[in-house]
Symmetry: C2
Amino acid sequence: MAEGQRALIVSAHPEPTSFQAALRAAAVEELAAQGFAVQVSDLCAMDFKATLGPEDFNDPRDTTRLNVSLEQRHAWQQGTLAPDVAIELDHLLAADLLLLMFPLWWFGPPAILKGWIDRVFVSGAVYGRTAVFEKGRLQGKRALLAVSTGAPSQSYGPHALNGDMNDILMPLHRGVLGFTGMTVLPPYVAYHVPYVGPAGRAALLSSWRHHLRALEHLPALPMPRLSDHPDALGAGERAH
Amino acid sequence: MAEGQRALIVSAHPEPTSFQAALRAAAVEELAAQGFAVQVSDLCAMDFKATLGPEDFNDPRDTTRLNVSLEQRHAWQQGTLAPDVAIELDHLLAADLLLLMFPLWWFGPPAILKGWIDRVFVSGAVYGRTAVFEKGRLQGKRALLAVSTGAPSQSYGPHALNGDMNDILMPLHRGVLGFTGMTVLPPYVAYHVPYVGPAGRAALLSSWRHHLRALEHLPALPMPRLSDHPDALGAGERAH
């Protein structure tokens, strides 16, 4: 049981009656049954702003030129993050478990979810120049992707047309979740959703619930360790 | 020389004086010198809408429920695509060469560029259910990524902290460009940009110009072929 733990579900499907919405509802129910306090960010329903731009920084350290990571660090330290970013970052920092739920579009998350990452994974708050992977500031949290596809499972695999799903999801697993120190659990993938019919979708929902019930026993994906790569970060001096 | 050919540069950096802007200016110059007619879509300057939603379809086939690929196909066939999408799609379909230029954020493109792909790579226009990879509708076009990073080159590689850049870029190379039939040229990557100083950046600009001058001789990245995977697509019937 997960009494006292918090889960954040971030979902990104533009259709409120999509199968992703059914997956999300099942997750809310399963996680609550396990004792999690569940917070949902339904990005499309929220019309979450996807694009990071200078307007995100209303008290910039440099009014003449936008350096994203420096402005993020400054805004985080000064408490001047954009309000929608600050709210989501609070949810993220409070969470013990993060679920990112989305339809696979062009081998990646829809732009609105990528924008949630670009804007909410604030430099300084979730990582630092030498605070990555096992030193990342989100260490101790677990994360899990729940992805749906139009293509069937046989189009994914090491020798399949689209390549392996683990390779497709690597930028999120390693570049976002592992990079910030999170423990990354194996993804749940619902394949071929538009074609499998009601019985097929019921079976997918059932296997998703089983995936969530097995959370405590899912083996974490392997991640690199910064300590194994002492030269990876290069010189620390910005040379403008 | 490329007389009579068209190049489309799609760039996605929120700072107009960024190094990405310098890379873009160099590309405009080099490609024009080679005889290309060059079109630039500077997504941040255009404030390009990143998020695909129901408001993109003003004459939908189904007013009750958004199915993205079906609505894209319908809007494409009926000539009712959102005006900003239609303009970008015209540029894409007219182009012989596509350059996607962006800072690597979280192992991927900024959301505004992912959104350009989500919205402009319209089902029916650029691919179909059985029109992917060598059957994709963008066959005959060449494409190239120009990426900049904050981390140094030694953090990328098969055994490096962040993994191999080709693996990081795979979703774009294989899942977007190759998937729609384009010939994918090797990417140009400018590493460690904030730290290399003016001389370092001048060297990067010079190597980028050389990359573009060698366009005709760059070997295409290998892509899978649909014909080698006859079972990849599964049943064609949607089962609602």
